[in-house]
């Protein structure tokens, strides 16, 4: 959904670049998992990819949770859609939703389109990216992950790290914690754990 207006970094060369492309793929996968599960075929693919990633990481507990869910799940994407709506959009009778926008968690105003949204949007632009659609605020988590994927894909790791440190990590921990309080759904719990793993500061 993010469009680059600078040339994509395509130098074929080093292993590092190929590996970066793979990390970019992981970010893209996570971004897709944080979008509303609209398309049935695509959703099936995404949850399969998620399971494989977890298996590759050797996270047996998470893999088991996902497998259980895969086995019990009655009809994709209905199950995920309801869960996504409850968790991220509107949930009248549960313990309230966790809007997936940075400004809601980072700014004390807790509004959409806050100062954080503006800064994140500015950062995208300073890196040569613009939102492809204005329907969602720039700081929706899937847009941020998509942006990270794009940066990493281009090999712009410095900016990627700057983005994580300045804009992503400061709110993600709170967001994840709130989500964990609000949902037991394995797909989203595991997605958030994966995002945490792939975005946290390297020791």
């Amino acid at each position: 959904m993010l469009q680059a207006n600078s040339a994509v970094y395509t130098s074929p060369g080093t292993d590092a670049q190929k590996e970066a492309a793979k990390l970019a793929d992981i970010y893209t996968l996570l971004a897709q998992l944080m979008r509303y599960p609209e398309d049935t075929a695509n959703v099936a693919l995404l949850v399969q990819a998620q399971l494989e990633l977890v298996l590759a990481l050797g996270w047996h507990e998470e893999a088991e949770m996902l497998r259980c869910w895969h086995a019990q799940c009655q009809g994709l994407p209905g199950d995920l859609r309801i869960e996504y709506t409850q968790l991220f959009i509107t949930a009248a009778t549960r313990c309230s939703t966790v809007p997936p926008y940075a400004s809601v968690h980072a700014d004390s105003e807790a509004l959409l389109q806050g100062r954080t949204t503006e800064r994140i949007h500015d950062f995208y632009r300073s890196c040569g990216y613009e939102l492809a659609s204005v329907a969602e605020p720039a700081d929706h988590i899937w847009l941020q992950l998509d942006f990270l994927a794009a940066l990493v894909h281009e090999g712009r790791h410095t900016e990627g790290e700057q983005f994580l440190a300045s804009f992503f990590r400061p709110w993600f921990a709170t967001f994840k914690e709130k989500c964990f309080q609000a949902t037991a759904h394995p797909v989203y719990r595991v997605t958030l754990t994966l995002i945490d793993f792939f975005t946290k500061e390297e020791q």
């Binding site: 509107t90 009248a92 389109q113 800064r119």
Partner: protein, 738 residues
Amino acid sequence: MAMNLTRRNFLKTASIAAASVPLSKVAARAESGVVKTPQVAPGSFKNTKTVVGGVCEMCFWRCQLVGKVRDGRLLKLEGNPKSIDNGVSLCARGNGGVAMLYDPDRLKYPLKNVGKRGEPKWERISWDEALDICGKKLKEIVDKHGAKSLAIFPHGSTARYPMDFFERTVGTPNVSEPSFFQCRGVRDMAYITTLEIAPDEDVDMANAKVIFLVGSHLGENIHVSHIKGYLKGLERGAKLVVLDPRFSAAASKAHIWVPIRPGTDTAMLLAIMNYLIENEKYAVDFVEEHGEGFDEFAEGIKEWTLERAAAECDVPVAQIKQVADLLAENMPNVAIHPGRHVTWYGNDFQRERALACLTGLLGAVGVQGGLVKPKGPKGLKRINWPKAETAGEGDLRRMQDVHHFHPPGCPTELIREAAISGDPYPIKGCVIWGQNMIQTIPGQDRTIKMLEQMDFVLCTDIMPTDITMYADILLPDCSYLEKYDFIKTGTQWDFSDEHQQYIAPRMALVEPGFERKDSIWIVNEIAKRMGYGDKIPVVSQEEMMAQSLEGVGLTLDKIREEGGIHIQPGEDPYGNNEDLLVYFFSEEMDDYDYPAIPTYIPVEPPPAGYMRLLYGRTPLHTFNRSINNPWLIHEAPINPVWVNDKVAVRLGLKHGDTVRLVNQDGVESRTTTTVKVTPGIREDAVYLYHGYGTRNKEMTFSVDKGVDDTSLITKIAIDPESGAHGMRNNFVKLVKVG
């Protein structure tokens, strides 16, 4: 959790990834691609675009706005400098529109309830799916039971188009607007019956010598240009008289505060009029020229001596006389305010009739300071859905031959009663558009019962208000800042200024975002699916505006160029038609067996140990509509209950104590509030700001804050003439908590 593997290790070793991102390389590329964002907000005037054409709808006064927009993000709203109405001023709510726009709790996508009605479990669905369901369900109901089996509960400018569609083209008579049946419809009908004038709040306070308010707490109820006129009048030396059981914001500015016993205003008005007539202190010539049935009226109110009213109203004789004399000395330049929210006791038509008669008695019509209708611009085209031949069939009011002086639509209680009982016919589909019926209509359990028996409930709103919990399909509306849907017109507010008129069409200040849609688009799509595609009057909101403006030779672009408001020369509003009539005695009312002269109908006094529950507005909220606004709720987080200081001592309550309210039927408030101990309220009443105590957890800024007064209004009174609700006939006691 198997998190012993670090990301670096994983990327190095795992088969699907490959090696880690080399940090050394990251560190080497240290150039910064980012400009440091200033930490301090630069102000709404820096690097922003001023977008014109906003028309506020935080309340329904509709001040004209400009937006300060930076990069698509609305930073601030200001009064439009071109405005001759609110000018550059806005109230707190108007200023708070930004926080409404960006409230994360707002509805964003169409939702389908896959859980229970009232305990929803939402699934986001596509517009196509949502509209298909709406079209199919509504059509099924109409096909099975007829158009009359739909009940429509609209509110605000967003709801006009859908209301017209269902009322005119589909043809249901069961349409009930809270602005009529829970607010000001009684007033308008009583004045029309008396003076043939719908008064709105058109009293020329700016040029009045006396401003006379019955329960209108101006200042707590804020409508910008109205308050400007009120303050201008006071600045010019008007004397202010306020009848209110509470020392309200207006009472605090009053020259005479009358702490009247709740429910007895009509008695005092009758005594004032009787005194004025007996002492020939009324506008004799005016009454002779314009009065109808004056003698019957004078004769009929004779029993209302000052003494009798004093006893009834718990007001000294001298004070009633003082008020009457003040009015007489300053007639005809007296502003007898008709009020706004007047559905109090279920006898309100008579009180409003009394106010209109007092206005006539003092000759205060069409003169400086009196009831003066502004002469606004004419010629805007009204675009409408075509009226079906069958429209209006099954009118419950007509079938029962009641409430002959009802405002437009059907009295709410008749619809609710029919829906619950199924008698005289089933009402199985419900369309709720912009109205939170949980907090607008008393008797919440009955509203819920009505909804539970429906085959289909559609709600459209901007917020997940309490009523939206009962929707099967919940649609996200555009707010007033994101659409084109209303043309505000009017004149300058001070008639002693140059006469001018304005036309201010509402224009979107920002894009709607998410999947919000305007009501014209939504209704057209539903109409197509119900088989009314050929009846659609306009294809879009912009076309609606264009067609309306065509009537006055204007376009949106032209008005935008003019700064968002078109201003043209106006007309002197003073003066009366020769054929103006004041029906002191109404034959029409007599024909229907209602009291034909204004009549005082006493209300039940509080039972021992209880106090009358009064409610009103805080300047920070428009009922429950704005309650979740983060900025506004922060300014006024709860609605403390006002208790008289002597009563508090007797009850052992201290300022700040937490209490629960329990009403005469044993209904307890779901939440608690704190006590405000004050000498500024009578001993027989308590007072709350209305609109608090939201139950829907999805309203995260306001849920459970304060107490919902409507939940305590379980005893229902109906005004016989108009069919409007009366909502101040309930009594409460306070139970200390903790």
